[in-house]
Amino acid sequence: MTGELAIPSAALQGDEADWAGPAAAATDDSALYLELDGWEGPLDLLLDLARRQKVDLRRISILDLVDQYLVYIERAEALRLELAADYLVMAAWLAYLKSAMLLPREEQEDPSPEELALRLQLRLQRLAAMRDAAARLLGRDRLGRDVFARGAPEGLRVDRKHLWQCDMFALLQAYGQVKARTAPVVHMVRDRMVMTLDSALTRVSAMLGVSLDWMELRDFLPPHADPRLRRSALASSFVAALELARTGKADLRQEETFGPLHLRGVRA
């Protein structure tokens, strides 16, 4: 048994150089300590022990494996080596598993010890599969170790350059707008023909004094006038009519909404 303990787990892998795992060691007890230090947890140690059974992991004897593990832990304890807690937890669990597997069937609990053993076996298979895969991966022709990229590539450079666009019209329009924006601004109000309120008031009162009948507002407007002057005259004559009605100098009458507006002078 002691002779087997010294098999370094790294030796099971294809590419030893890449492992920082435990080094090959002598068979004495200090080697055991070193190896325990090198294992990554109880599953790692179990896998190592399982592989020493030199059978397919699917046919591994879990009972043998449990015995080997427990022996290992006992030896470590006998040497008063510090063991990480998870090794001891695993030892306790495996001791339980072993006793359950040795019990008569009818006294078994759920999950059955077979199931627990199978679960352990499956886990070991999976870890072993990944360990082999890692070794095969590391053994490939690796870039920078076995195959090399070009030592001094020239490199590809892409220089970005803006191609600015502007046309003559945009240029002149921009200048025109600068000039227009900054030129002194002169506001010119065009001369327009208007009838002021004063002249409308004078004109409407004079005409009311002449007629005794109702007259339509339109009749007060200057005939043959420029249409723009007529619009202005209509507005100012309307306001004049309202003013005369307010001061009691005229009556207003409208038959319907938006209908013609009539007015008549009030005789004092």
Binding site: E115, L118, R119, M130, A133, G144, P153
Partner: protein, 194 residues
């Protein structure tokens, strides 16, 4: 041997000069939109027997020395980092199972993964965060990178050594799935486990 056509020569010159592997799309863009697939195939064939080869890794192309020249070219000071055993195992688990969470990695290895282990792999540019799994806790999931494929000489993840056999054997499935299947079978062949 005749002179290769100018597109082939342009792709050849571009990939020789490039400081990193390039996708066919990136090469095409560099060459003003030409279709470079034919040229890449022609170059790969031309270089297959030479001391330098054109290879495709994760959809990116680069020239590298032929593998059988390794013994002549190994340098005194290797620029490949030596990985710890833990890092190597984690890398393999990520590669064969991706995308994979830290908890899934740990359940396969049976130990907690030291904080630095995934960091080392990410720093090497071989592993990347590939999002989160939409399960309670939304754990971060990890996957490999194109640089991983380039470094290990894999055209795609399908080239991972033995991945088909592992998958066929169910060794990439979670223990729970395998357990269920095995318990059914074990019903007939009782007692083998002991």
């Amino acid at each position: 041997m005749g002179r290769p056509d100018d597109l082939v020569r342009a792709v050849e010159a571009t990939l020789f000069a490039a400081e990193a592997p390039m996708t066919a799309e990136a090469i095409a863009e560099h060459l003003g939109g030409a279709d470079v697939r034919g040229a890449l195939a022609e170059l790969a064939e031309h270089y297959a027997a030479r001391g330098v080869q054109l290879v495709e890794r994760g959809k990116r192309w680069h020239f590298q020395t032929a593998p059988d020249m390794a013994h002549l070219l190994r340098r005194e000071r290797e620029d490949v980092r030596r990985l710890s055993r833990a890092a190597t195992e984690v890398l393999a688990i990520v590669a064969y199972h991706e995308p994979v969470s830290r908890a899934e990695i740990e359940s396969i290895r049976g130990v907690q993964t030291a904080k630095g282990t995934l960091d080392v792999l990410m720093e090497a540019g071989w592993v990347r965060v590939a999002g989160r799994r939409e399960v309670p806790g939304r754990p971060v999931i990890y996957a490999t990178t194109p640089e991983f494929l380039a470094h290990f000489g894999l055209a795609t993840r399908k080239d991972l050594p033995g991945i088909d056999e592992l998958r066929a054997a169910g060794l990439l499935d979670p223990v729970e799935d395998a357990l269920e299947a095995a318990m059914d079978a074990a019903g007939q062949a009782d007692g083998n486990a002991a």
